[in-house]
């Protein structure tokens, strides 16, 4: 019995000690409120080392370096489920309590909660990735023309293929215009250098599943495809291509480190370009709530360095196309036909960004869903 008592006393002391240390920590944090603070809400964990959240956090780190902010000025909330409004609200209110002046929400599902909080906290700037809401004062959204880099990566694939069959592991079916727009831009890039090549699409219906993405890639390889590209978060399609001794084009981050014998290049996001711009403007007090839709011209979108596996002449072809885009080539310029034979963009016209990222639900004529 005595032993039991001692045990409880120990537990009690431990709890008290913890409480005390927690108090002292809080005291230290609140003394820094005069400094400018940047908060970021991640759907995953930057420690994943690849993929979506990792790419966003690289952007935050880059912004921190460029603007010379200290670690205390960056607040990160990781693994915030974007379908759980309570978790989002808690995470963001914690940021506000810690003195955040600008909050970046990196996932689509944060949109509605951010809109509500923006109305309650007019002194804080809310910037939301990939959505469409803008409250006219302290909330905007940001995204970019990733299709420009998709087009360039299509050039690398089109020059490399021998069988003229290119496989595309797509996360979502035709009605998701983010994925479908990427496929079409890629197919246009392929066609610009290799009019005989076709793009074959297999849909996995998931953003992240190494098993399914690998199986879809293998099915495409079995059909005879010799370049595999993807819109999904795992490296499995690239690994499948490497195992068969053929080629691949990745996505999101440079996958050459994962599949050094297969990978050609990957369309990538440099979120740092936007984070630096927005934070700088907010610190200087001239932030405006205009939506940001960046492209290759301001460095938000890029192609990862070409690997040793690319075909001869790829670098020149991509540089020429990059220059064309910087000079104003819109990629989705008429006339364009979909794979059902319908005219989707007339001669002399070009599709608007809103249509490409929000309303594209047709496949280009060289694309075939398998």
């Amino acid at each position: 019995m005595l032993k039991m008592k001692k045990f409880w006393v120990l537990i009690f002391v431990a709890v008290m000690a913890l409480t005390l240390s927690a108090c002292s920590k809080e005291g230290k944090e609140t003394s820094n409120t005069t400094d400018f603070k940047v908060a970021v809400i991640h759907i995953g964990d930057p420690a994943d080392g690849a993929g979506y959240t990792y790419a966003h956090d690289l952007g935050i780190v880059k912004m921190q370096e460029e603007l010379g902010l200290s670690d205390e000025q960056i607040i990160r909330k990781n693994n915030v489920n974007d379908t759980d409004a309570v978790a989002i609200t808690t995470a963001m209110e914690e940021c506000i309590e810690e003195g955040a002046d600008i909050i970046f929400g990196t996932s689509w599902g944060y949109m509605d909660t951010m809109e509500q909080l923006a109305a309650e906290h007019s002194e804080v700037i809310f910037s939301h990735c990939s959505g469409y809401k803008n409250n006219g004062s302290n909330m905007n959204n940001y995204f970019g023309r990733i299709y420009q880099a998709r087009y360039l990566s299509g050039i690398a694939a089109g020059l490399k293929t021998q069988s003229n069959m290119i496989g595309y592991v797509a996360a979502m079916p035709i009605d998701n215009s983010e994925v479908t727009g990427g496929i079409n831009a890629f197919a246009l890039g392929v066609e610009s250098v290799n009019p005989d090549a076709k793009v074959y699409v297999k849909v996995t219906n998931t953003w992240f599943d190494p098993t399914l993405e690998g199986q879809a890639a293998e099915a495409l390889l079995d059909m005879g495809c010799d370049v595999i590209t993807q819109h999904g978060d795992t490296t499995a399609p690239q690994m499948a291509a490497q195992a068969r001794g053929v080629w691949g084009v990745g996505y999101n981050s440079d996958m050459t480190k994962d599949a050094p014998e297969a990978h050609l290049t990957a369309p990538i996001w440099n979120w740092g370009a936007y984070y630096t711009k927005a934070t700088k403007e907010a610190m200087e007090g001239n932030w405006s709530n205009d939506n940001y839709f960046g492209g290759m011209d301001d460095g938000l979108i890029d192609l990862s360095p070409l690997s040793k596996n690319v075909a001869e002449g790829t670098e020149e072809a991509i540089e020429a196309a990059r220059q064309r885009i910087l000079d104003g080539y819109k990629i989705f310029e008429g006339e364009l036909y979909d794979n059902q034979g319908n005219l989707v963009c007339a001669e002399g016209e070009a599709l608007a960004d809103a249509d490409i990222t929000g309303a594209m639900n047709w496949y280009y004529k060289t694309v075939e869903v398998k």
Binding site: D45, A47, D48, G49, A50, P173, K202, V203, N205, F208, D209, P210, T211, G214, Q215, A216, E218, A219, L220, D222, T234, T235, A236, Q238, M239, A240, A243, D258, V369, K370
Partner: protein
């Protein structure tokens, strides 16, 4: 095309075969362990972790097997010794196993400073390559003799388990415990020891299935996300499909593997069915199997009578 499809089906079916064989061993000794998903997750992590650090396939498999043993030991202690409800304990084990794998997986990622990746030598060991001579036979050579080593291991384990269950004295004792523990106890069979042994053995085999998922399907990269992704649950369903026979499980896992890759191989220009239908197929088939199994009522192909019920010696 058909050969490619069947080849992919065998690959997709292998983790299911491990999971099913493991669960059959568990259920045959009278315990329904719904923790297959969790045990596979733990096996997936341990197999990858040891493979990543030692570069040795046998050690990786051994580690996956042992962590499966350990997970099943928790289950065995709770249900056999503490008499806890088997369904609830199994579900808890699933949740625990997923948490375990993700927790230590994240530590591994942080230590490695990015997604940990298996060495190229290790990838060659686990790659698909034709067996000399046999692999050159047309059709069959590609279909049966060109797989990665774990595919052969899964079939070997299933065959050994089948022989063990049907042909050996120890297997007979275990079936007796599964069908009627009271009678087995009266006949002098050590019920508790047999239950512990087979639950742990089953857990170890499930762990191997997890290792297959992280080593082969993960493409040699640990991602900390859903590597197992429901395969454990399909394995539990497959036990019923295979009517508690590891030999039938070989066929059953091939069928389920075929369903899971069918969406990528079906000629979409000829047969136009929405993708969701293909995803649903394995579960639809399980439903029909359950209906037929309940109508059939045969002696050999049904669930062990003592399965799912804890055995109190004092209530004999």
């Amino acid at each position: 095309m058909i050969i490619n499809f069947l080849f992919a089906a065998i690959k997709a079916g292998t983790p299911l075969l491990f999971g099913t064989t493991g669960e059959i061993m568990t259920e045959k000794s009278g315990n329904l362990n719904l923790g297959v998903e969790g045990m596979m997750f733990m096996g997936a992590f341990m197999g990858f972790f040891v493979g990543f650090h030692t570069g040795s396939l046998p050690l990786a498999l051994l580690a996956a097997f042992i962590i499966g043993n350990f997970a099943a030991l928790i289950y065995a202690f709770l249900t056999v010794t503490m008499m806890a409800n088997q369904n609830v304990t199994g579900l808890t084990l699933t949740i625990f196993g997923i948490g375990f794998a993700k927790f230590f997986g994240e530590i591994m990622i942080r230590k490695a400073g990015g997604s940990p990746k298996l060495s190229p030598e290790f990838m060659i060991t686990i790659s698909e390559k034709p067996i000399p001579v046999l692999g050159e036979i047309p059709v069959i050579g590609k279909l049966i003799f060109s797989h990665n080593p774990l595919v052969y291991l899964s079939v070997l384990v299933a065959v050994i388990c089948s022989i063990y269950i049907m042909k050996t004295r120890a297997g007979l004792n275990m079936r007796a415990v599964g069908e009627n523990p009271a009678a087995a106890d009266a006949a002098g069979i050590k019920v508790t020891r047999i239950k512990y042994l087979h639950i742990m053995l089953g857990g170890g085999i499930c762990g191997l299935g997890g290792a297959y998922l992280s080593l082969i399907n993960g493409g040699g990269v640990w991602n900390n996300s859903s590597v197992v992704n429901g395969q454990g649950w399909i394995s539990v369903a497959l036990v019923i499909f295979a009517s508690w026979s590891p030999m039938k499980a070989i066929f059953g896992s091939l069928v389920f593997g075929a369903f899971s890759v069918l969406q990528f191989y079906a000629p979409k220009d000829i047969i136009h069915i929405p993708n969701a239908f293909y995803v649903m197929l394995p579960f639809l088939i399980t439903t029909f199997v359950l209906i037929f199994a309940s109508m059939r009522k045969s002696k050999t192909g049904s669930q062990p009578a003592g399965c799912g019920i804890n055995y109190f010696r004092e209530e004999r």
